[in-house]
Symmetry: C2
Subunit: 382 residues, 2 copies
Amino acid sequence: MPLPLAGLVVLDLTHVLAGPFASMTLADLGARIIKVERPGTGDDTRTFPPFKNGKSAYFAAINHGKASIALDLKADSDRATFERLVARADVLLENFRPGVMERLDYGWETLHRKHPRLIYGAVSGFGHTGPDARRPSYDMVAQARGGVMSITGEADRDPVRVGASIGDIAAGMYLTQGVLAALYDRQRTDTGRKIDISMLDCQLAILEHAIAIASVTGKAPAPSGARHPSIAPFETFHASDGLFVIAAGNDVLFEKLCVALSLPIADDPRFGSNADRVENVRLLKRLIEAVTLDQTRAHWIAKLTAAGIPNAPIQSVDDVMRDPQIVARNMVVDVLDRNGRQAFKAAGNPIKMTDAEDRTARAPAPDLDGNRGEILRWLDGD
Amino acid sequence: MPLPLAGLVVLDLTHVLAGPFASMTLADLGARIIKVERPGTGDDTRTFPPFKNGKSAYFAAINHGKASIALDLKADSDRATFERLVARADVLLENFRPGVMERLDYGWETLHRKHPRLIYGAVSGFGHTGPDARRPSYDMVAQARGGVMSITGEADRDPVRVGASIGDIAAGMYLTQGVLAALYDRQRTDTGRKIDISMLDCQLAILEHAIAIASVTGKAPAPSGARHPSIAPFETFHASDGLFVIAAGNDVLFEKLCVALSLPIADDPRFGSNADRVENVRLLKRLIEAVTLDQTRAHWIAKLTAAGIPNAPIQSVDDVMRDPQIVARNMVVDVLDRNGRQAFKAAGNPIKMTDAEDRTARAPAPDLDGNRGEILRWLDGD
């Protein structure tokens, strides 16, 4: 069977991360992505390190399999080409500051009038409405203003940012969801919609329980380091050679843990219930670590796994890429060069589906304007 | 116009967070969610604090607007009801350990044979394939093993977990994307698919650039605290009363910043280019903070905003809920009780669309089995 979005054409004006992440997922689901870049420099991420053979690995990790055409949307001849592309597109994506597309005369209202079936997906720092609609944003600005930094970090130190760019990526994922919902709906209504995604909105959307806590208790949740806020023991511990997580979420698991660690504290009233263990969590951590520091991570992981106690190593990204479960799931794929050789690595598609080929390689990330010829031939009626 | 997924029926067997987060989004897009819970206790999150009037705010923040029926999937009469529900469902969602549904004789193969149009969405710790398929997982286990913790935290201290449950939530968002793509595709093929989402897979998928860095340089990226890894100044700074982010991403912005701070270092060769500033980032931070500590956050934010320098406060979750941009975007909504009164708060739907009402309130979170009567009447042919 073809991939779910086979045959769909996405005209992608987005650059950097949020938008390109969304179109990457659409490509993994089978859509054809035509990436419109500004002439000369193209997408900023073409200049992001690290480089390999002169090409950005960052750009490749996100833009593999897309086709690139460079267009100056203020120049008449390029505008003519662009308008031919819009006429053939199912979806248009943009992440300009709100107002930019309107000034180009390519805003939602104009495009919808001419192409009522076009789905228009916009992602921006703050959305297309509201007092801050026209302000620029960045991933760290979204993480800071959006609340996730305030709950990430050690309890008595300054907050830290999330190491993954979730300010951009959560927005990219919500853009994808909006586009897919609009595509489904269009088959019934034969009409497109504009989707308006704000990076800031998406930060709040992923804070689920923190909103519940803040609104009921009147207090904002605080960061909890590497520890679950309300279950113990459920945090990271040092082995002789690295960190790992023990998640002993109930009394039964705690007793099993005490046996596995030869730590005879299961009957100690200070640790009798989860509530007791949470109250004495720092003492509990020190007692557990007094034992775990003596052996390697691998030793404890094997022992706890055999006893049925959930656990995990804190893996670095290169560890994860070699993790047998990740490898078995085809979650690290090759991005090829134009000669079919492996040039870069990228994350695989996590949306595994029956009857949908889960490819082990990806087509190259495009050179700037590298697909102009084939795109123009396609417009001319291949 | 109706919401995009109006008329769609989702039979939701999921519990806790990843699955219910996905069905919450589907509900916000217009689908009808029938939440099947185990009798007696129901979804574990009904017991998660904080509580208000005896009801869990956590449960309410994620399960608003869903209908609940309690079914024991091993009891004949409940199985008969369940099978009538499956026959009417467009989508089934489950997050049991791989194998559980098969043992109940409700696995994908069986259901697909009887209901070839049914879309079967599964989310689990490690996926339905691979050596660890049957292992349990938790959000922190996914965050630890999946790599994001290794890049979150201060550079020379132990890693921390991301304060939002992105182990669960990224998986929930990918499940939503898979379901929506399958729904779109079903209109062409008239056939359902099984979607198999792994929490671990999804952690790698959101690490985009970290994979690029690890694969090209051979070194895993390290945590970078509250600082952008390759741009400076682009981090958090202390004002007299709190933390805020300055994102001066290029030479022009840096010069404007020096003017705004009355800090005459724009011509200092140690800070001449971004590369110089990154090399001397700790000195740069101390110099900037020497100035910013003298005034409030509000003072600096106003000054920098007027100068066009991107910035943001580090907001706590309750600050975010009151943020004027968030309020203008309807991103904090009321969850009502059965008398139509505001009982809880929840995040709004970030997927804003034209012609789709963006409601300011949500229907109540259901009582356990609270909608049995109306569900059975619907099955009988309303």
